[in-house]
């Protein structure tokens, strides 16, 4: 074990690294770098967790992976790839989803001294943030986008958590814009990817997914009727896709006739739509023979049509082997979305786009390069040394937030950690872990124990997620054993029926009996009015795949953020969740 160099610099802290267990969530761009950095810090035990497999487009930066590793588990491959290096750390790889509570119950997390996030999506980031809040384990959050990046050490309840500053939300469009009156390329791409693709190739459309009249934000009766009719006919097309024989391309002509001709003619008959808009023209052309098309160049409408036919029949054949989902790195599905979007653009006189451009939009691609990842992973690993200071005050004051490496004059900016936001929806809540054997206790038993322990004056409400388990007006579940209504890893939301005391979040962990955490539940002070607004926003926004960094995380982009807040809610409130097509941007 070579640690004399570490000893020169860190002294006895070197032993603390040796004795520590850390978790790294995500073995991608930042993860590969970070794993190497953590190994060379001699951390005692490093757990590598990732649900993903390796793809060709990872190889420009995820240096632990090679061409031959494509399709293999990232976590497992990363563990093996560092084998040549004579390291002292014990490595454990987990191929799985961090949010899977069966695989990773709370007890899994509590074994770690530090958690490193090297994730690529907001949902998992918020999840790990919440776990950190429940367990009070220091979390080092990181992300990059092109030449920019950020690292944020989080000391739960002491410093700003990941949810303290609202994140930029994905763009949404009204259904009508997508379905009947597109005016920008993005409308057509959204239509192809989020509407047409699942309609033709998705799992059988359940009643719930069917378009309902009230979903369409339009006063135009004719338009609503047309859209509903269109939807029903699409279900017929799906049957055609399912029944397509190998090599048969005939069914594709029917699809083309329907979506690029008949549907457009139907829209044209609704004259009110075209009073102020230019009329679309139903598709009227023949495909040409294509070999390989250059993704950087614009294709003709005939080329797009040919590609549409090829990709549709390919996907239809693949469906016989199993489900096919849109994936930006799956050429067939990408070709389908590119050609369908371009054909629709053509019909509506909207400029067509290159495959390269459409891939970026449809695939929600964040540029990524090894250099930025190396810089941010280096900062992330270095930040962890501050978690070993004796006092919280020292940990917090010595830690630095890092962001933005693209300003040539400053290169990398750092600032001290901000205190937590008192209005943060995540860390302003009182929370704890309840240890319980769910098969032994009833809902009522839990209710009484909570009232007794925390001094709620009269009655409480208990909910799991959006599901109500009990309140004053709903006592059906009272005598039911808890394991019938919730499971380990769930979070129970406790609210005061009298609105006197604050609400409480309890994470359910497996135990022998019933043990409630020691918590101070303080008096309620939340102004009600504000809350309603926030709830509404939660309803209509669906989280994007990738983190959009910059201003929204570092919190220093004050004026800009403020301006967005001012404009935001008023505009967003127009829609509700069911009425918008969502594109993750």
């Amino acid at each position: 074990m070579y640690d004399s160099h570490l000893r020169k610099i860190f002294g006895s802290q070197t032993d603390q690294f040796r004795q520590s267990k850390v978790l790294m969530v995500g073995a991608g761009g930042i993860g590969c770098e970070l794993l190497k950095d953590l190994l060379l810090m001699n951390y005692g035990e490093i757990h590598i967790l990732d649900l993903d497999t390796i793809d060709l487009s990872n190889l420009n930066r995820q240096f632990l992976f090679r061409q031959k590793d494509i399709k293999k588990s990232k976590a497992m491959t990363a563990q093996q790839a560092v084998g040549h290096f004579n390291h002292a750390s014990k490595l454990v790889a987990h191929h799985g989803n961090i949010m899977d509570t069966n695989m990773f119950p709370l007890s899994f997390f509590t074994q770690f001294d530090i958690i490193f996030n090297a994730l690529d999506n907001l949902e998992a980031r918020f999840y790990v943030n919440k776990i950190a809040l429940f367990t009070k384990i220091p979390l080092i959050e990181s992300g990059t986008s092109g030449l920019k990046g950020q690292v944020q050490p989080i000391y739960p309840y002491e410093t700003e958590c990941f949810a303290c500053i609202p994140k930029e939300q994905p763009k949404t469009f009204p259904v009508c814009t997508i379905r009947s009156t597109p005016s920008k390329p993005i409308h057509c791409i959204t239509w192809a990817k989020n509407f047409l693709f699942p309609q033709l190739f998705g799992d059988d459309v359940s009643d719930q997914d069917k378009l309902k009249p009230q979903d369409i934000e339009s006063d135009n009766k004719a338009e609503i009727e047309a859209l509903l009719k269109e939807s029903n006919e699409l279900l017929d097309l799906k049957v055609l896709v399912n029944e397509a024989a190998p090599g048969d391309k005939g069914f594709v002509s029917k699809i083309i006739e329907k979506i690029f001709e008949e549907d457009i003619e139907r829209l044209l008959r609704i004259e009110t739509l075209w009073k102020t808009r230019e009329k679309p023209e139903p598709l009227n052309c023949e495909p040409v023979k294509i070999k390989s098309l250059d993704g950087q160049k614009l294709w003709t409408v005939e080329e797009n049509l040919a590609l549409f036919i090829n990709s549709t029949s390919k996907i239809a054949q693949r469906l016989k082997q199993g489900p096919v989902e849109f994936d930006k790195d799956d050429e067939d599905t990408l070709d389908f979305v590119v050609s369908a979007a371009n054909l629709r653009s053509y019909i509506f006189h909207i400029p067509m786009k290159t495959k390269f451009e459409i891939k970026q939009i449809a695939g929600n691609i964040i540029p990524a390069v090894a250099t930025t990842n190396a810089i941010m992973a280096g900062f992330s690993a270095l930040s962890s040394i501050h978690a070993f200071h004796a006092t919280m005050q020292e940990k917090v004051s010595k830690s630095k937030m890092v962001y933005d490496s693209n300003q040539p004059s400053r290169f990398v900016n750092t600032s001290g950690l901000a205190p937590k936001n008192p209005k943060c929806p995540a860390c302003s809540v009182t929370r704890g872990i309840i240890s319980i054997d769910l098969s032994k206790y009833t809902v009522d038993g839990l209710r009484k124990a909570i009232i007794d322990k925390y001094g709620y004056s009269d009655d409480i409400g208990i909910a799991e997620g959006t599901r109500l388990l009990y309140d004053y007006d709903f006592d059906d579940n009272l005598e039911i054993k808890l394991d019938k209504v919730c499971s380990y890893g769930n979070v129970l939301f406790i609210s005061d029926a009298d609105d006197e005391l604050d609400s409480l979040e309890l994470l359910v962990d497996k135990g022998d009996k019933l043990e409630l955490p020691e918590l101070e539940v303080s008096a309620k002070v939340v102004p009600e009015e504000k809350k309603e607004e926030e709830d509404e926003e939660d309803d209509l926004i669906i989280e994007g795949d990738d983190l959009i960094m910059e201003g929204d995380i570092n919190g220093l982009d004050g004026p800009k953020r403020k301006a967005e807040d001012d404009m935001g809610p008023a505009k967003k409130r127009k829609y509700t969740a069911d009425e918008v097509e969502v594109i993750e941007l």
Binding site: H5, N86, P367
Partner: protein, 493 residues
């Protein structure tokens, strides 16, 4: 791999520098001196990005310290040639790149101009910045980076006579010419009447409000005044967008940013200058004649009736093409006036016009030190102290052929002072320098992998900017302090 696969492999980075930048990387050759951790981390990032060839110049053997700090050596090869081991492991990262080990000694190559002239960029990762190397590469006009790390500190410095940057990727306000409408645009704006206000792109609304206000008041409207008028136009999406972008009415199309104004003042010898400077001269003439720059021609996405948007787009495009052709004419004229027969590629002119408001030029320096660094107004005093620290350690290392350790504290302090005094009459020791020296001594020359990885990340990012000739380089010195988690950069004149 076929072209498609190659494109997929580099897809995520080509979104930063496009296929033109990638092509330049593939055709590049870089030399990295020394195979320590900073060097190997730098090479790793270059190889992953697809740089065609890297030559790793190293004549050391794999030591215990290498095994503790450098990921690209293996214990089985302890005592063997370090550069060979590292080159092999680094080469495996990407079959499209070649990493070659050059085992000749650095000193023996210092006079070999033909060896160095094969490279597009050189990265020196030794402690010694090596003045002869700086001189040689300066002469050959090859950009040189010096990158090194000790303990929790590191240093990156760029030596390069001149960098002219066109594709800077700087964000800028949209160039809509609200206050400088030309005939075709005016005609279009006039054709828009009350009946179709809801259908036109917001820039048309801004122009209408702007012109109306100027007619009535004889002066430009403020953002607030513009918003007030726009609000009366209804609540259509394009009006909402116009309100959001109302500040554009305050942008004076005739105004040049400071950097560009300065650039146009520079005197260069046009009989030998690069095409960049010929184009700058043409730009200056264009501006003197028209009072505005050539139009970049790109129109942002705006809510609008598609047909109306396309019409407006074609008006901007046509103006851009006219301006570009005029600039090209001016450039050719300048070349002819100076008896130069060469041409400038259309693509180069197009890029230049598209980016003409955000051009950047850096003039480098060979100096190891400049007097501003000792001024009391120095805002990055702590970071310059780290730089001084590296210089002192280098001097010590040269004299004693070993790294300075804590026991050498007094000697290193004396060295630092005498060095600073040689440059300038020093009134007092720079604040905090002693602490920085102590921190450096504590490490006794050893590196910490984390800091090396981070430093390698910064160095390789700069190399890529140089090779692709895209984005803006740092100018021209930077140190990192891992104790405070902070970087600081400044220019050495």
């Amino acid at each position: 791999m076929n072209d498609n696969e190659v494109n997929s492999k580099y897809d995520r980075q080509m979104r930063l520098w496009s296929s033109s930048g990638q092509k330049r990387l593939v055709g590049s050759r870089v030399c990295v001196v020394e195979a320590n951790a900073v060097a190997c981390e730098t090479v790793k990032n270059l190889v992953l990005a697809g740089v065609g060839q890297v030559v790793l110049l190293d004549s050391e053997r794999v030591s215990a310290e290498d095994l503790a700090t450098n990921f690209f050596v293996v214990a089985e090869e302890a005592g063997k040639a370090r550069g060979e081991c590292a080159a092999r492991l680094l080469g495996e990262l990407n079959p499209d790149s070649t990493v070659i080990h050059e085992k000749s000694s650095f000193e023996s190559l210092l006079k070999d101009r033909s060896f160095w002239s094969q490279f597009d960029c050189v990265v020196n990762c030794r402690l010694d910045h090596c003045v002869p190397l700086i001189e040689l590469l300066w002469d050959l006009r090859i950009p040189l980076l010096h990158a090194h790390s000790i303990g929790l500190y590191s240093l990156v410095r760029l030596y390069c006579e001149e960098r002219t940057m066109v594709e800077t990727h700087s964000s800028r306000a949209d160039d809509l010419r609200i206050d400088a409408v030309w005939d075709e645009l005016q005609e279009y704006v006039d054709s828009v009447d009350e009946t179709c206000l809801a259908e036109v792109p917001y820039s048309v609304l801004l122009i209408k409000v702007y012109q109306e206000f100027v007619r009535e008041h004889g002066r430009r409207p403020s953002t607030k005044e513009t918003r007030r008028r726009l609000a009366q136009l209804g609540d259509d999406e394009n009006v909402e967008e116009a309100i959001k972008k109302a500040a554009l009415v305050t942008k004076r199309s005739s105004e040049l940013n400071e950097k560009l104004a300065q650039l146009m003042q520079e005197t260069v010898d046009l009989s030998t200058a690069s095409s960049f400077w010929v184009l700058v001269e043409a730009l200056k003439q264009f501006y003197e004649k028209h009072g505005v720059l050539p139009l970049s021609g790109s129109l942002p996405d705006m809510a609008s009736n598609t047909e109306k948007y396309l019409k407006l787009q074609s008006i901007y495009r046509a103006k851009h093409e006219t301006d570009r052709d005029e600039l090209k004419g001016l450039a050719l004229q300048i070349l002819a006036q100076h008896g130069r027969a060469e041409q400038i590629a259309e693509s180069e002119i197009e890029l230049f016009v598209k980016n003409c408001s955000v051009l950047e030029v850096h003039r480098g320096s060979k100096n190891v030190w400049s007097s501003e660094m000792l001024s009391e107004a120095n805002p990055v005093l702590h970071n310059t102290n780290i730089y001084f620290g590296f210089l002192a350690l280098n001097t010590f290392h040269k004299e004693h052929k070993r790294h300075a350790a804590p026991k050498d504290q007094s000697e290193v302090r004396a060295l630092a002072i005498s060095q600073l005094c040689r440059w300038e009459t020093l009134k007092s020791f720079p604040d905090g320098l002693e602490l920085v020296l102590d921190e450096l001594l504590r490490a006794e020359g050893t590196a910490l992998h984390n800091v090396c990885a981070l430093t390698g990340g910064i160095a390789s990012q700069e190399v890529i900017k140089i090779l692709t000739n895209q984005y803006v380089s740092f100018d021209n010195c930077l140190t990192f302090d891992g104790v405070r988690g902070q970087t600081g950069s400044w220019k050495i004149e």
